[in-house]
């Protein structure tokens, strides 16, 4: 029996060329009995970890390799024989990557020569431009290492003749011939995919692509006996594949990951250093340095594990980064499994006291589990870049790189690009991709195709949909991870190639998070979080205005007013618990202690919702149901084995860790299996394996004495977690920030609102709602003014106010004003500006920017209203900044005749405020329409909360938010607002279907419906909706002459109205 190793395979990590996943290729190679396989992607090793993993699981011999496409056109397959050769290969690729822009690699034959030691090369003859028999000896001489010549069957009619000639030429040059399959896909059915992705790459339609397509489906993996038949004249070419296989002994498992030592001196090991630090710092956490004995014991235990696993340098690195942030006054907080350790608490990587939430380190890291610890650190979103550049500076680009993120096809992008290739019109593509709600759509059912107005039986359409479905999950390109850093002691490029990122000053490695996990390479996630910016700004303002120094650590814990505020769902702006779903949960869950907040943060997630865990938890919490822990039939063993896992949540699993623990404790999974289960559910491609796991899970639980129903619910919940994993360790860190922001909002609403506005864009609500909420809490807000405001929103003294301060809106609230221009304005404001011209002369701001200020009505302190200011601004001239013209600064222009402009009615001012700043302090637009609305019997939003449950009511409001959560089965949630408050509207699917147009496109809605009170939350369940958006037009036309205003509406469309309803009031925020 002849043996054969396939040494030329392009996987789909040769982006938009190969048509099979590395895993598929390895598994097929194993299935057809090949002796070994090498994935040779073009100038990249991005796919080799996946192949390595698949090879390990399926016990296949795998050779890490790559294909080098040189600038001169030559292509070589490169097989490193040992670890040193592999390091040379990755360094070579790094050199090529760093020369080129993102996604390209420029290499020359001379580069290859310099790094060729220990690497076996195979030349692809079709890439040689000159005569092979003269070029081959030259290339061999230049490379000065083992060189083979590849021969593969092309099915173009002349194969026997061509291969004979190759064999002859190779023999002449003393270069051995090696047979390859030049593989593009694992099975012939993938030819269509190969064609389609080729077209995507070349931006061609399938009809135009012509000879770019595959002539036949032959480039699939073939078994040894078939290769033997094809190469019957050249048996040595098959033998040589085995020779290369034998020579290559390198496995990725050999990559010893070496963490930066973080050594302070030579005499002290990282472990000792860490221990010293921890023991000295933990004292600072306790009053008078009295560390409780239990803490000491746990700490010693944690340090022992860290020592055994050799993780000390990792903790030291995170500590160093956090230290840098702290000295530079950048607020940060760690989260993730290892972050909730006492070590991290001592090092101030986190301020969550692990004792307080009862999170045990061992639950995340133990001797048994091989998974590396995970610490994510969130930094202020405006200052994270400083931290990133610090890391590059400290470790150098040779030792630090950002993790890659693999961008893969999702339902929408797949339909879009395959549709284009298959020649569907833009319209059709748009309509089809529009039917996919959410990014991970499944196959589009026929009914949806019909709904979009197409015939699902149309052949071309069917083909398109099938192909699009097949390429979902295919890698498209590498991008940079938001902040995952890999740091190494020895040069990083000896482990993995580094490439340039699209962003300047960033370098990225070729592997993603999963690859790193698989090789047990540690990474530090340096993430950004808007709320941290907001909290830091709040602390600074409190210090400046109230002379009190607060930090995340010293804000009072268990503050009753704060929890009371949370009970009322008064949480606009509060981190994590401000969404409508969270708001409706708060009065039911009524958090009273910190751990309740941890639950609160985690419970409104697809995991617990899909697993149907929310209501049981609430019932148990409210005491409506017995807090029963799931028990198993005692005949099978200890009935209470899940107590430890589920006690804290009254027997209802809510966190990702709990679900995993159930798999381990109750279903008998090994930790590795549990993890595989989670991963396999995250990547929906492996639907086959999910089924296997489901069986194992449910059988595991029932055979160990649990009820089938409970087992099934647990499994469903893991499904939810897989997509939107929310672990307890993260929830705890988020709860900390939720508490801090709630406390700020409760006690310093003026500061909190100001900081929130100054940290935009972030969070769930627009500035208008933040300001409105602040005013409802007694904060005084003042208009933007050129003589008072700065770029940022400010607090200014206001003796009449409860807190003694008022919020002055800043220029950043005005659409279209740049920060630089705002600063120029404030820098030149040594004395007040007297009018528009004065401002123009002194600041030299572009007239267009001054016009924006006028449109924001910011000239009031000059005695000019919006319209007068605008008239003045329009009279300015943008004079070039030349010395010759500087005399022109003095006012010597002709005095122009006073022009009497009509006064702007208040309602129009409000509309203009909305246009310029998306908010108005003057009035709410609806207040002008109130008489008409009242006449129609429409209630105010604030009034309906007093009506009894089940009462009928009609309200009108501006649509703020439209939501159609995937988990809510077609129900639409609307938030509408009038001058008195907001109303939460629920539109059931049936009503929605009937009044789709009204729901989707109205700015001003009138809703008639039935009230529903539940635990302090009021919903209006819509029966009938009507669009009253055109009413808003009256605002800008001036209500006083209503009859005349209607005359102004054109009788015919092309006349158009100067203002479209849609420009009048900003669009709602829509979430799917």
């Amino acid at each position: 029996m002849v043996e054969y190793a396939e040494l030329q395979i392009s996987s789909n990590f040769s982006f938009l060329r190969g048509a099979s996943f590395p895993e598929e290729l390895i598994i097929s190679a194993k299935a057809i009995g090949l002796s070994a396989a090498a994935i040779t992607d073009r100038n990249t090793v991005a796919g080799i970890v996946r192949a390595h993993g698949a090879a390990k699981t399926h016990d296949m011999t795998y050779i890490p390799a790559c294909r080098l496409d040189l600038v001169c056109g030559l292509s070589l397959l490169a097989y490193p024989t040992d670890k040193a050769a592999y390091a040379r290969l990755t360094e070579l690729l790094t050199i090529g990557n760093r020369r080129a822009e993102k996604g390209s690699c420029y290499l020359y034959l001379s580069d290859v020569t310099a790094f060729s030691e220990g690497i076996i090369f195979t030349l692809l003859p079709e890439t040689v431009s000159g005569a092979l028999h003269t070029e081959l000896p030259l290339i061999k001489e230049q490379l000065n290492t083992d060189l083979y010549l590849a021969a593969s069957y092309s099915y173009q009619g002349n194969d026997k003749r061509r291969i004979a000639w190759l064999a002859y030429t190779a023999a002449q040059a003393h270069v051995p011939l090696v047979a390859t399959g030049n593989i593009l896909f694992h099975a012939p059915e993938r030819r269509q995919i190969a064609d389609v992705i080729n077209c995507i790459r070349e931006h061609k339609t399938i009809e135009e692509a012509g000879y770019l397509l595959q002539q036949n489906a032959e480039r699939f993996l073939k078994p040894a006996h078939e290769m033997e038949r094809l190469f019957s004249d050249h048996p040595e070419a098959l033998k040589n594949t085995m020779a290369i296989k034998e020579a290559c002994n390198f496995s990725l498992d050999e990559l010893r990951y070496n963490y930066p030592k973080e050594a302070v001196s030579k005499d002290i090991t990282p472990q000792e250093h860490l221990e010293n630090l921890v023991w000295s710092r933990i004292k600072e956490r306790y009053e008078n340095g009295k560390v409780p004995a239990s803490i000491k014991k746990t700490l010693a235990h944690e340090l022992a594990i860290v020592s055994r696993k050799n993780y000390a340098p990792y903790f030291l690195t995170v500590n160093d980064i956090v230290e840098y942030a702290r000295t530079n006054k950048i607020l940060c907080q760690g989260r993730g499994s290892a972050a909730n350790s006492l070590i991290c608490f001592a090092l101030r990587i986190t301020d969550v006291n692990p004792e307080q939430v009862d999170l045990l380190f061992e639950r995340f890291i133990s001797d048994a589990r091989s998974e590396p610890p995970d610490i994510d650190v969130d930094f202020e979103h405006e200052r994270r870049e400083e931290v990133i550049q610090y890391i590059y500076k400290k470790y150098g680009r040779a030792h630090a790189g950002l993790t890659a993120t693999l961008i893969t096809y999702r339902a929408r992008s797949a339909i879009r690009e395959v549709g284009k290739v298959m020649g569907l019109s833009e319209d059709m593509i748009g309509a089809l991709s529009g039917t996919v709600w959410g990014s991970y759509g499944k196959e589009i059912p026929d009914s949806q195709v019909e709904e979009a107005g197409f015939d699902p039986n149309d052949n071309r359409l069917r083909q398109t949909l099938n192909l699009a479905h097949e390429i979902i999950g295919f890698p498209r390109h590498l991008s940079q991870h938001v902040g995952g850093f890999v740091l190494t002691e020895t040069p990083l490029h000896e482990i993995v190639p580094i490439q340039n990122a699209a962003m300047q000053d960033r370098t990225v490695i070729e592997w993603n998070k999963d690859d790193l996990d698989a090789l047990e390479i540690l990474k530090v996630d340096v993430l950004s979080l808007g709320m941290l910016t907001c909290i830091r700004k709040s602390f600074q303002m409190i210090q400046a205005c109230h002379n009190k120094l607060y930090t995340l650590e010293n804000i009072p814990t268990d503050d009753r007013p704060t929890y009371k505020m949370l009970h009322k769902a008064d949480t606009i702006g509060v981190f994590q618990v401000e969404s409508r779903a969270q708001m409706s949960m708060l009065p039911r869950l009524r958090p009273n202690v910190f751990y309740d907040l941890v639950v609160q943060v985690a419970i409104v997630r697809p995991g617990p919702i899909q697993g149907d865990m929310v209501h049981p938890y609430l019932r148990r919490r409210q005491g409506l149901e017995k807090r029963e822990l799931p028990k198993r039939d005692p005949r099978f063993g200890s009935a209470d084995e899940l107590n430890e896992v589920l006690e804290r949540t009254y027997g209802v699993p809510l966190f990702q860790e709990q679900a995993m623990r159930i798999a381990i404790v109750a279903a008998g999974f090994t930790p590795e299996e549990a993890d595989q289960l989670r991963r396999s559910m995250a990547s929906f491609r492996n639907q086959g394996t999910i089924h296997k796991f489901q069986e194992k899970f449910i059988n595991g639980m029932t055979s160990r004495g649990y009820e089938l129903d409970f087992a099934e619910r647990c499994f469903k919940q893991i499904g939810g977690f897989a997509d939107y994993g929310f672990p307890e360790s993260h929830a705890a860190a988020f709860a900390m920030l939720a508490y801090a922001s709630a406390w700020l909002k409760c006690h310093f609403p003026h500061v909190f609102a100001c900081a929130l506005l100054n940290s935009q864009p972030m969070g769930f609500y627009a500035p208008a709602q933040i300001v409105r909420d602040a005013r409802e809490h007694g904060v005084k807000a003042r208009e933007v003014d050129i003589n008072i405001s700065t770029w940022n929103n400010l607090l200014e003294p206001e003796p009449d106010n409860r807190w003694g301060w008022a919020l002055r809106l800043g220029f950043r609230q005005i659409k279209g004003i740049s920060e630089d221009n705002a600063n120029t304005l404030t820098d030149n404001r040594l004395r007040p500006y007297t009018d528009v011209e004065d401002l123009h002369i002194r600041t030299r701001l572009p007239v267009a920017q001054i016009e924006k200020l006028a449109e924001a009505d910011a000239f009031r302190s000059c005695g000019l209203d919006r319209r007068q200011a605008l008239w003045q601004v329009r009279g300015l001239i943008d004079s070039p900044d030349l010395p010759l013209f500087s005399h022109a600064d003095t006012k010597d222009k002709d005095v122009e005749p006073e022009t009497e402009l009509p006064t702007m009615p208040l309602s129009e001012h409000v509309v203009n405020d909305y246009q310029s700043m998306r908010l108005s302090l003057k009035a709410h637009p609806l207040s002008f329409l109130r008489p008409t609305l009242e006449h129609k019997g429409i209630l105010r939003c604030a009034d309906i909360t007093n009506l009894k449950d089940g009462a009928k009511a009609t309200v009108a409001g501006l649509v703020l938010v439209r939501q159609r959560p995937g988990s809510a089965k077609g129900v639409i949630f609307l938030t509408v607002e009038d001058e008195t408050g907001v109303a939460n509207v629920v539109v059931w699917k049936k009503v929605f279907e009937n009044q789709r147009a009204t729901v989707m496109s109205s700015r001003l809605l009138i809703i008639e419906g039935k009230l529903q009170h539940e635990s302090g939350v009021t919903h209006l369940v819509a029966n009938d909706l009507s669009d009253a958006s055109t009413e808003l037009l009256k605002l800008s036309d001036g209500l006083e002459n209503d009859a005349e205003a209607s005359l102004q509406l054109p009788a015919y469309r092309s006349g158009g109205h100067p203002r479209n309803v849609k420009d009048l009031i900003p669009r709602s925020r829509d979430f799917h």
């Binding site: 009619g157 078994p223 107005g453 001239i877 005359l1047 102004q1048 054109p1050 100067p1058």
Partner: protein, 461 residues
């Protein structure tokens, strides 16, 4: 709004593609129809028609009656309309859009009505209109009251053009500046005409007249370095009807003889009946044609081929004479298509040098052959084609060509072989369908019983 958005709102939306060119054509047709009311008609934008009815109204019984007549006629042909009449086109536009049915007869009255209309009635662009709106200037009349200089100062720089246009509009609206209607007729690029006091009835006479017209036209074209691509002859008959002949050329030409020959091919189609009193020869489409030396033999040869093509094109109809064009396809019989004579890009250079050579002649359809001695995955040893038995001496192959999956081809994959038979002929055979190989591919043919079939497809030189 995109179609997808519109569909999200209203899923049963009826969608038809927009055809602005067809719309414009329709509007032009309709405009032409209005010549019954006045000779001065023009298309106004993409949805309006402008008529200068000065001095015409009395023919239709006065302004009101004329408006009614137009309205009724339009309604009868299924067209809704908004019509107004005023003493200049801007006023008429404003009234028809905002207060249709208005008829004004004197400037003061019009001015008063216009003053009360919205600013949009002045046909301003959106940006300008919004700015004026913000300044509280919402009615056209407010603008007339404003000092012009102040207004001009407010719209400087890139807006200056707009304000100029605005002032012009205002003047036009006030009737201060006259804006002429550019009447609507479709003028061909070049045309010559000849009128006859005695109507021409005989074909020879027509033919002589055409020759003279052609002489005149080609002189004009030569002066302008133009050649004709499409030429029309209009014969205006004494009974008021018009006859039309149209010829086209494959290359621009101003060769009288050639063009005459083409026209003569068609001349019998012309029906003179009571005779023509006017002949009009019009070059409907021309392109640049510099003067060229006619003596070079190659140019002459090319010339005569084109002229020949023009002539058989004119005789057989242009769609009957075609060229062969390369099409990028691996399927041999689909690698070429027919195309019109005018096409010069035949793309034969795109055939890649890396692909194997193709036979010099392909059979129109592959012909089934009977293979006697078959070798799996190899060329046959012996086969019969058209009742003649052939012994294969040499063979090379296979070249494997899979069907074009995107057209849902049901054809099996083909394996092509070049074979040389004992008699010396080199033939191109293929087997339709692949042999199943254990562990590599299952049988491609769904119906297991059908054996792979062999075909003869072409000849090599």
């Amino acid at each position: 709004m995109t179609l997808a958005e519109a569909r999200a709102i209203h899923p049963v939306l009826h969608v038809a593609p927009s055809t602005p060119e067809a719309d414009q054509q329709k509007l032009e047709d309709l405009t032409r129809w209005f010549i019954r009311y006045t000779p001065l008609v023009a298309v106004d934008g993409d949805d309006g028609i402008l008529l200068d009815v000065t001095g015409c109204t009395h023919l239709f019984g006065g302004e009101e009656a004329m408006l009614d007549s137009i309205k009724t006629r339009l309604r009868d042909s299924g067209i809704n309309s908004q019509i107004s009449m005023a003493e200049n086109r801007r006023m008429a536009w404003a009234f028809s859009h905002y207060i249709p049915g208005t008829i004004t007869k004197n400037p003061t009255e019009s001015q008063a009505i216009l003053s009360n209309l919205t600013m949009a009635a002045l046909q301003l662009d959106d940006g300008m209109q919004q700015m004026l709106f913000k300044l509280g200037l919402k009615k056209a009349g407010q603008l007339f009251d404003l000092p012009r200089a102040s207004l001009m100062q407010r719209f400087r720089g890139k807006d200056s053009k707009k304000i100029e246009a605005l002032i012009t509009r205002m003047d036009q609206a006030e009737g201060r500046r006259d804006e002429p209607i550019i009447p609507f007729t479709l003028l061909p690029e070049w045309q010559v005409r000849m009128a006859f006091s005695e109507p021409l009835q005989l074909q020879e006479m027509v033919s002589t007249a055409i020759k003279e017209l052609l002489l005149e036209l080609t002189d004009l074209l030569a002066e302008a370095d133009k050649g004709v691509m499409r030429l029309a002859l209009y014969g205006f008959r004494v009974d008021g009807s018009v006859q039309k002949l149209m010829i086209g050329t494959n290359k621009p030409s101003r060769d009288q003889k050639h063009l005459m020959r083409l026209l003569e091919e068609k001349l019998p189609d012309l029906e003179a009946e009571f005779g023509f009193d006017l002949l009009l020869l019009s070059a409907e489409e021309t392109t640049h044609l510099p003067p060229e030396q006619t003596s070079s033999a190659k140019a002459h040869a090319e010339h005569s081929i084109t002229e020949f093509l023009d002539r058989i094109g004119a005789r057989l109809g242009p769609s009957s004479v075609r060229k062969i064009k390369h099409r990028q396809s691996y399927i041999p019989e689909q690698a070429q298509t027919f195309t019109s004579l005018q096409t010069n890009e035949l793309h034969w250079e795109e055939y890649p040098s890396t692909l194997p050579i193709r036979p010099i002649r392909l059979l129109l359809r592959p012909e089934a052959i009977h293979v006697m001695a078959e070798v799996p995955e190899g060329a046959p040893k012996r086969f019969r084609w058209r009742r003649v038995e052939h012994l294969v001496a040499k063979a090379e192959g296979p070249e494997r060509i899979a069907p074009e999956w995107w057209i849902n081809s049901e054809d099996p994959t083909r394996d092509y072989y070049q074979v040389e038979v004992k008699s010396g002929a080199r033939l191109w055979l293929f087997r339709s369908g692949l042999y199943p190989i254990k562990g590599v591919r299952p049988s491609e043919n769904r119906k297991q019983s059908t054996q792979p079939q062999w075909f003869m497809h072409g000849f090599f030189a």
